[in-house]
Amino acid sequence: MPPLDAATLLMVIAVIDAIACVVWLALGQVLRIAPRAARRISAYHGLLALAWWPALPAAMERLVALPLDVLSAALLAAGVRALMRVRYRAWDIAAVAAAGLLATAATAGDPDLSTARAVSNLAGGVLALMAAWDVAAGAGFRAGLTSVVLLPYLVLASGCFWRAGGLLGWMPAGLDLAGLAANAPLALLRLVVDLTIATGLVALVMQRLIARVRHLTRRDALTGVLNRRAFEEHLARLQAQAERGRGHAVLVLDVDHFKRINDELGHAGGDAALQHLARVLGETLRDNDCFGRLGGEEFAVLLPDTDPDGAMRVAERLRQLLQAQPLAWGDKLWPISASFGVATMRAGDAHGRGALARADAAMYAAKARGRNRVLRAVDEADLA
């Protein structure tokens, strides 16, 4: 491999950062994607582009280049934190950046730049680790992908620490790193690290948007429980297990006198009643129970590995819970109740719709018998 020129590579890094600065501005301002995080990340790339451009005279390194390094690292950490939405405060980031800047300023009397460079590298390394911490906590990828996204931050931090150690004379002789301007392979590595950080951030944003689309297509917009299509997918999945002999139960419930609630409280009151029901019942269900809205005021719950008696007990508990917690609307309390139908899944149903239909019929029977009660599907009582 022929020798590479470090100064050229540094210019390339600056160009890459300038373009990333523009792309993030467009994401934040035009598409309104995570505007706060986008502003910070755009500023990070912009400052880095200034810091790396070799047009800065060497005399400005202490005054401009080193503080810019620290500031851009702080902006990266703050941008990642805003993007990950793990925490909102950034006092720790500001404190590390301020300490780095103050320590750099404190070396002003020293004609040798080594200490100032070491301090700026130390601060940059700590900030890169803080960003890595937030990425690890907030990325919704699988573990393998998350570690790929984390890798450049860790490489960056270790490079910073190594270089700082060398500058401070802590490294054994011959193991210290030369600066990027005189070290072409290191400059190439830094180029790859900056590129992977920049593209990894875009991938993280993309992942967040995709997660949002999936959530919106699977959830009912009003109550946040599964929508009908998503519920039916779960139903079909459990039916496939029922074919192999496992026992699952289906529970259908319908709010009593919902039309009256709507007429008396208006549509907004009706919506609030549905949200209230979804919240009250959702809190008590297990994680792997699927809770969905079938439409209007009708909901359904899938209870995996639950026998008919167990399902009756769950339904009865839900009915009592709902009855015990009236809806607060205006300055009054409005009692809400629902009628429940319970059925078990059997082998031979197409997509589990048979169980849903039996539970639905049982729910209507419960309505006919005076509402606010739980009934088991008729033929199940015979089987039991």
Binding site: M1, P2, L4, D5, A7, T8, L9, M11, V12, V15, I16, I19, A20, V23, A26, L27, L31, R32, I33, W53, P54, A55, F141, R142, L145, V148, A184, L188, L191, V192, L195, T196, T199, G200, V202, A203, V205, M206, Q207, L209, I210, R212, V213, L216, T217, A221, H267, G296
Partner: protein, 396 residues
């Protein structure tokens, strides 16, 4: 040297940087294709394009890797890379990609260029190879422009967003143009001539821009999808209640400055009966049909929303009660004349309409909605398939 460019750039370092850029881009696109499973074929072809362009620069003997026929491989890979970009744009738009055509073109040009005897730096060779790549890039520009127009961008914004690919196309033509204009002075890209340095810088910037641009297209697709999901009713594609409330609130605040608006409530007649007789699927189809029939009666600024069940609402900005009555009557007549059948059974689709206009006396939009609701109630009581209005009682 200008003060902004204090160092002469070194072409070999630029080539190494290009390889690094293409390499990282390949990995990231593969990660998006495999890990996020979003538009996987589009992402995979962008990853492939990056890999091939990167390999094409990597095979350059400036970096010291020499294979037999490496010039030929290098040319073929960059051609295939642009072929994949040509495929990626329709794939992002979820349209069929002309892969057979691109494959045939790559193979044909590969065979042709292997048969050229004059070496890789002759003019016909450059014309053929770079001309083909440029044609692919230009064709992708056209595709991209159409895709952006289809996404609802205006012509100028679409042009700006599609332009990076066109610049790539022109940049590719620069090499044969140089060979044509200054014959004999052509040098391979690792020679530090001013033309080469400028060309390599431009390639680097464009490699970054193109990748950023495709990412932007994908993100835009996701953002538009999210907007549609949060604002629209999934069944009928009318606005949902929340989006309508926001539009009405905005209109009501303008009403304070003298711009009146009207609301039309429409409720499909005998919907429960339709559902019970023909089934839920028929009910869904009837709602969709109703929206399709009434939509042409509306202007660009009007908003049609589904309030829930079979009840819809239209917001008509800058419209009084007379204008709203005209619109509602047209919708009623069109709907009544529209044939609807399910499973061979005819079912007359009609709706009842209630209209109300805003007034400065209304403290909030809820009061306008309440009057429209009263009017709808009256229309239903009058035997359905009619338009009724409730006007504000004159203030005493």
């Amino acid at each position: 040297m200008s003060p902004l460019m204090p160092h002469a750039a070194d072409p070999v370092s630029l080539i190494a940087a290009l390889v690094a850029v293409f390499g990282v881009a390949t990995l990231v696109w593969l990660m998006i294709a495999a890990g996020l499973r979003e538009s996987p074929w589009a992402c995979a072809s962008v990853a492939g394009a990056n890999a091939m362009l990167g390999a094409s620069f990597l095979l350059h003997d400036a970096l010291g890797l020499t294979l037999p026929l490496h010039y030929w491989w290098s040319d073929l890979l960059s051609l295939a890379g642009f072929g994949l970009i040509r495929l990626a744009v329709p794939l992002v738009g979820e349209r069929p990609a002309p892969w057979r055509l691109v494959l045939a073109m790559t193979v044909a040009i590969g065979v042709l260029s292997a048969r050229f005897t004059g070496g890789p730096d002759t003019l016909p060779h450059k014309l053929l190879l770079y001309g083909a790549m440029s044609a692919l890039a230009m064709r992708s520009t056209l595709d991209a422009w159409r895709l952006l127009r289809a996404r609802g961008l205006n012509a100028r914004a679409a042009l700006v967003l599609a332009s990076p690919l066109a610049v790539v196309g022109l940049l590719l033509l620069a090499r044969p143009a140089e060979a044509l204009l200054a014959p004999g002075s052509t040098a391979d890209i690792d020679v530090a001539s001013a033309f080469n340095i400028a060309w390599l810088w431009a390639s680097l910037v464009l490699a970054l821009l193109i990748n950023g641009w495709i990412a932007f297209l994908l993100l835009m697709k996701l953002v538009l999808e999210i907007r549609r999901l949060t604002e629209r009713d999934p069944l009928t594609d009318a606005l949902n209640r929340r989006a309508l409330s926001e539009a009405i609130e905005a209109e009501h605040s303008r009403q304070m400055r003298g711009h009146g608006y009207a609301l039309v409530l429409l409720d499909m007649d005998r919907f429960k009966q339709l559902n019970d007789t023909l089934g839920h699927a028929a009910g869904d189809a009837a709602l969709k049909a109703m929206v399709t029939v009434v939509r042409p009666c509306l202007r660009e600024v009007d908003r049609l929303a589904r309030l829930g069940g079979e009840e819809f609402c239209v917001l008509l900005p800058h419209t009084g009660i007379a204008g709203a009555a005209l619109v509602a009557e047209r919708m009623r007549a069109l709907l009544a004349a529209h044939p609807f059948a399910w499973d061979g059974r005819d079912w007359p689709l009609t709706a009842s309409f209630g209209i109300a206009e805003s007034s400065r006396q209304d403290e909030s939009a809820t009061e306008v909605m309440r009057r429209a609701d009263q009017a709808l109630y009256r229309a239903k009581a009058q035997g359905r398939n009619v338009v009724q209005a409730v006007e504000l009682e004159p203030a005493r």
